[in-house]
């Protein structure tokens, strides 16, 4: 099986699977993610609790199922915000050029000078822990990539005949940006957005792992991993299963992004045809 078909198959299966799990969580979770059973705290996997129980006796499988909601919600909302802001600023910078471009790109350079996780941690320190703040922190961290992409595309497109024709017909800058430039950015943007969701999911889990993200009793994969670390010696299942969930969802989205890149990139198509 060729890598692109293999990655598309795995990507679609895993991503759709996790989206369904998140949507159907109340129907498929065997227990409430908050239901405690102190007598069986840290119990290992068994018939009643397939993936075992955490220190408060909560069912790990149910918490992983509900955790999918947190991860995917943060992933999609973060990407929506950062892509909207980034693409708008990048398209404006690329289309208008000159001073506007300089200012937007210098601001983006400053943000790019902060390694992602560091900026997110600093923002979380300012705004305090919580999911809304995770989304804000990750969006502040993520917009620059989209801005660079949109700017690059807008720069190359603004001198093209269809843009010049629209200008000659009296179309205003907003109309040109929204109706002529953005639809042409769609292909690379879809790929970038897909990878963005995966990084936002890892970002949320990382911040929750450090105690800066989702707060108890919210079921979040990152905070589950963080709790599991304290019981690594006596209850390794607390660490193993949430980690597998993160890995599978991120892998699924990455596989999907990879196959979309191959499908939408004319250069890679050429390579495949040449074989």
């Amino acid at each position: 099986m060729r890598y692109s078909s293999f990655s598309f198959f795995i990507g679609v299966t895993l991503t759709t699977g996790f989206v369904l799990v998140a949507l159907l969580a109340p129907f498929i979770a065997p227990y409430s993610p908050y239901e405690q059973d102190f007598y069986n705290g840290l119990a290992g996997p068994g018939a009643l609790h397939l993936l075992g129980q955490d220190s408060l006796g909560r069912d790990i499988l149910s918490r992983i199922i509900y955790g999918a909601r947190v991860s995917l919600l943060v992933g999609f909302v973060t990407v929506f915000i950062s892509a909207t802001v980034g693409v708008a600023l990048g398209a404006v910078a690329g289309y208008f050029g000159g001073r506007i471009d300089e200012v937007i790109m210098r601001i983006s350079d400053i943000f790019l000078s902060f390694p992602g996780i560091l900026l997110a941690i600093a923002v979380m320190a300012v705004r305090g822990p919580g999911l809304e703040n995770v989304i804000v922190a990750l969006s502040i961290m993520g917009w620059t990539g989209y801005a660079r992409l949109a700017r690059g595309q807008a720069l190359s497109l603004r001198e093209r005949e269809f843009v010049l024709a629209a200008e000659a017909l009296g179309a205003g800058p907003l109309r040109i940006i929204f109706l002529h430039l953005l639809p042409n950015i769609a292909a690379p943007l879809i790929v970038e957005v897909t990878f963005g969701v995966a990084s936002a999911i890892v970002g949320e889990a990382g911040l929750s792992f450090l105690g800066l993200g989702a707060q108890p009793p919210t079921a979040s994969w990152g905070s589950m991993l963080s709790e599991g670390r304290s019981f690594l010696l006596i209850a390794p299942h607390l660490t193993t299963f949430p980690g597998i969930a993160i890995m599978l969802v991120v892998m699924g989205i990455n596989f999907l992004g990879d196959s979309l890149r191959t499908a939408l990139d004319p250069k890679s198509k050429k390579v495949i045809r040449a074989v």
């Binding site: 890598y3 990655s7 902060f114 560091l118 300012v126 599991g228 596989f255």
Partner: protein
Amino acid sequence: MKTFLIRRILALVPVVFGVVTLVFFIIHATPGDPVEIMLGETASPADRDTLRKELGLDRPLVVQYITFIGAVATGDLGKSLFTNKGVAESIAERYPATVQLALCSMALAIIIAIPLGVLAAARKNSAIDTGAMAVSLLGVSMPSFWIGPLLILVFSINLGWFPVAGRGGIESLVLPSITLGTAMAAILSRLTRSTMIEALDEDYIVTARAKGASSMTILFRHALSNAILPVVTVAGLQMGALLAGAIITETIFAWPGIGRLTLQAITARDYPLAQGCVLTISLSYVFVNLAVDIVYALVDPRIRYK
């Protein structure tokens, strides 16, 4: 080359200035009064005022900012609110541990990534290629905060091969380096594969093949030597990311580096220390990028004339 260097360094000035400004305002926007944190809630207002004055926190924010810029320019990062130790001194103590960890992770990533990428490119679209790329995607998908505890569980707790945490001999470096370097190895192997595929498509490869060069000579002498440049560039750029990524790895392994110090300073609301740490990591990132650009321009003359 001289013009390129001047242009590149001048472009850095507003970025460095912006980084310093952003760090100052982010840290100062953090809720919580450092004076209250230091003295406790029961301190008298007079004591609080005295300490606030001593720390210069009674002055307007703009004045504090100007003082901060002046101090940073002279290398004075202030003192920790809790240990009273110089921030620069604390950072100097911890920084080498982070650099050591980042360098080992990078070395490990390169050792794994380049052969894997070359192999995948040489056997493009075969089962080996699919397998190698699937493994590398798996590497990107495994977060460090999961790999770390798993490695501790298997190699420290169950097998007892490596220490659970701390910085000691070479054996203490193994697990943190694997944790930090896995994602990097995955990224670099994918990049090596794609640059190798492009290189193998070039005319000089056809020429080498026509002249009867062996497969190994073509792969390593002709293709890899041309394909390696972007890989080395990205590896260099990722060095900065590793310095920041070390925050999580250092927390897992109680590694006494600047990443763990940053997190401790931020959670303790130790403003000067947090400010100094964030600034050091960000500026390291900026200067590593500059160094990579310069090295790249030195080896590839086309860059200088762009």
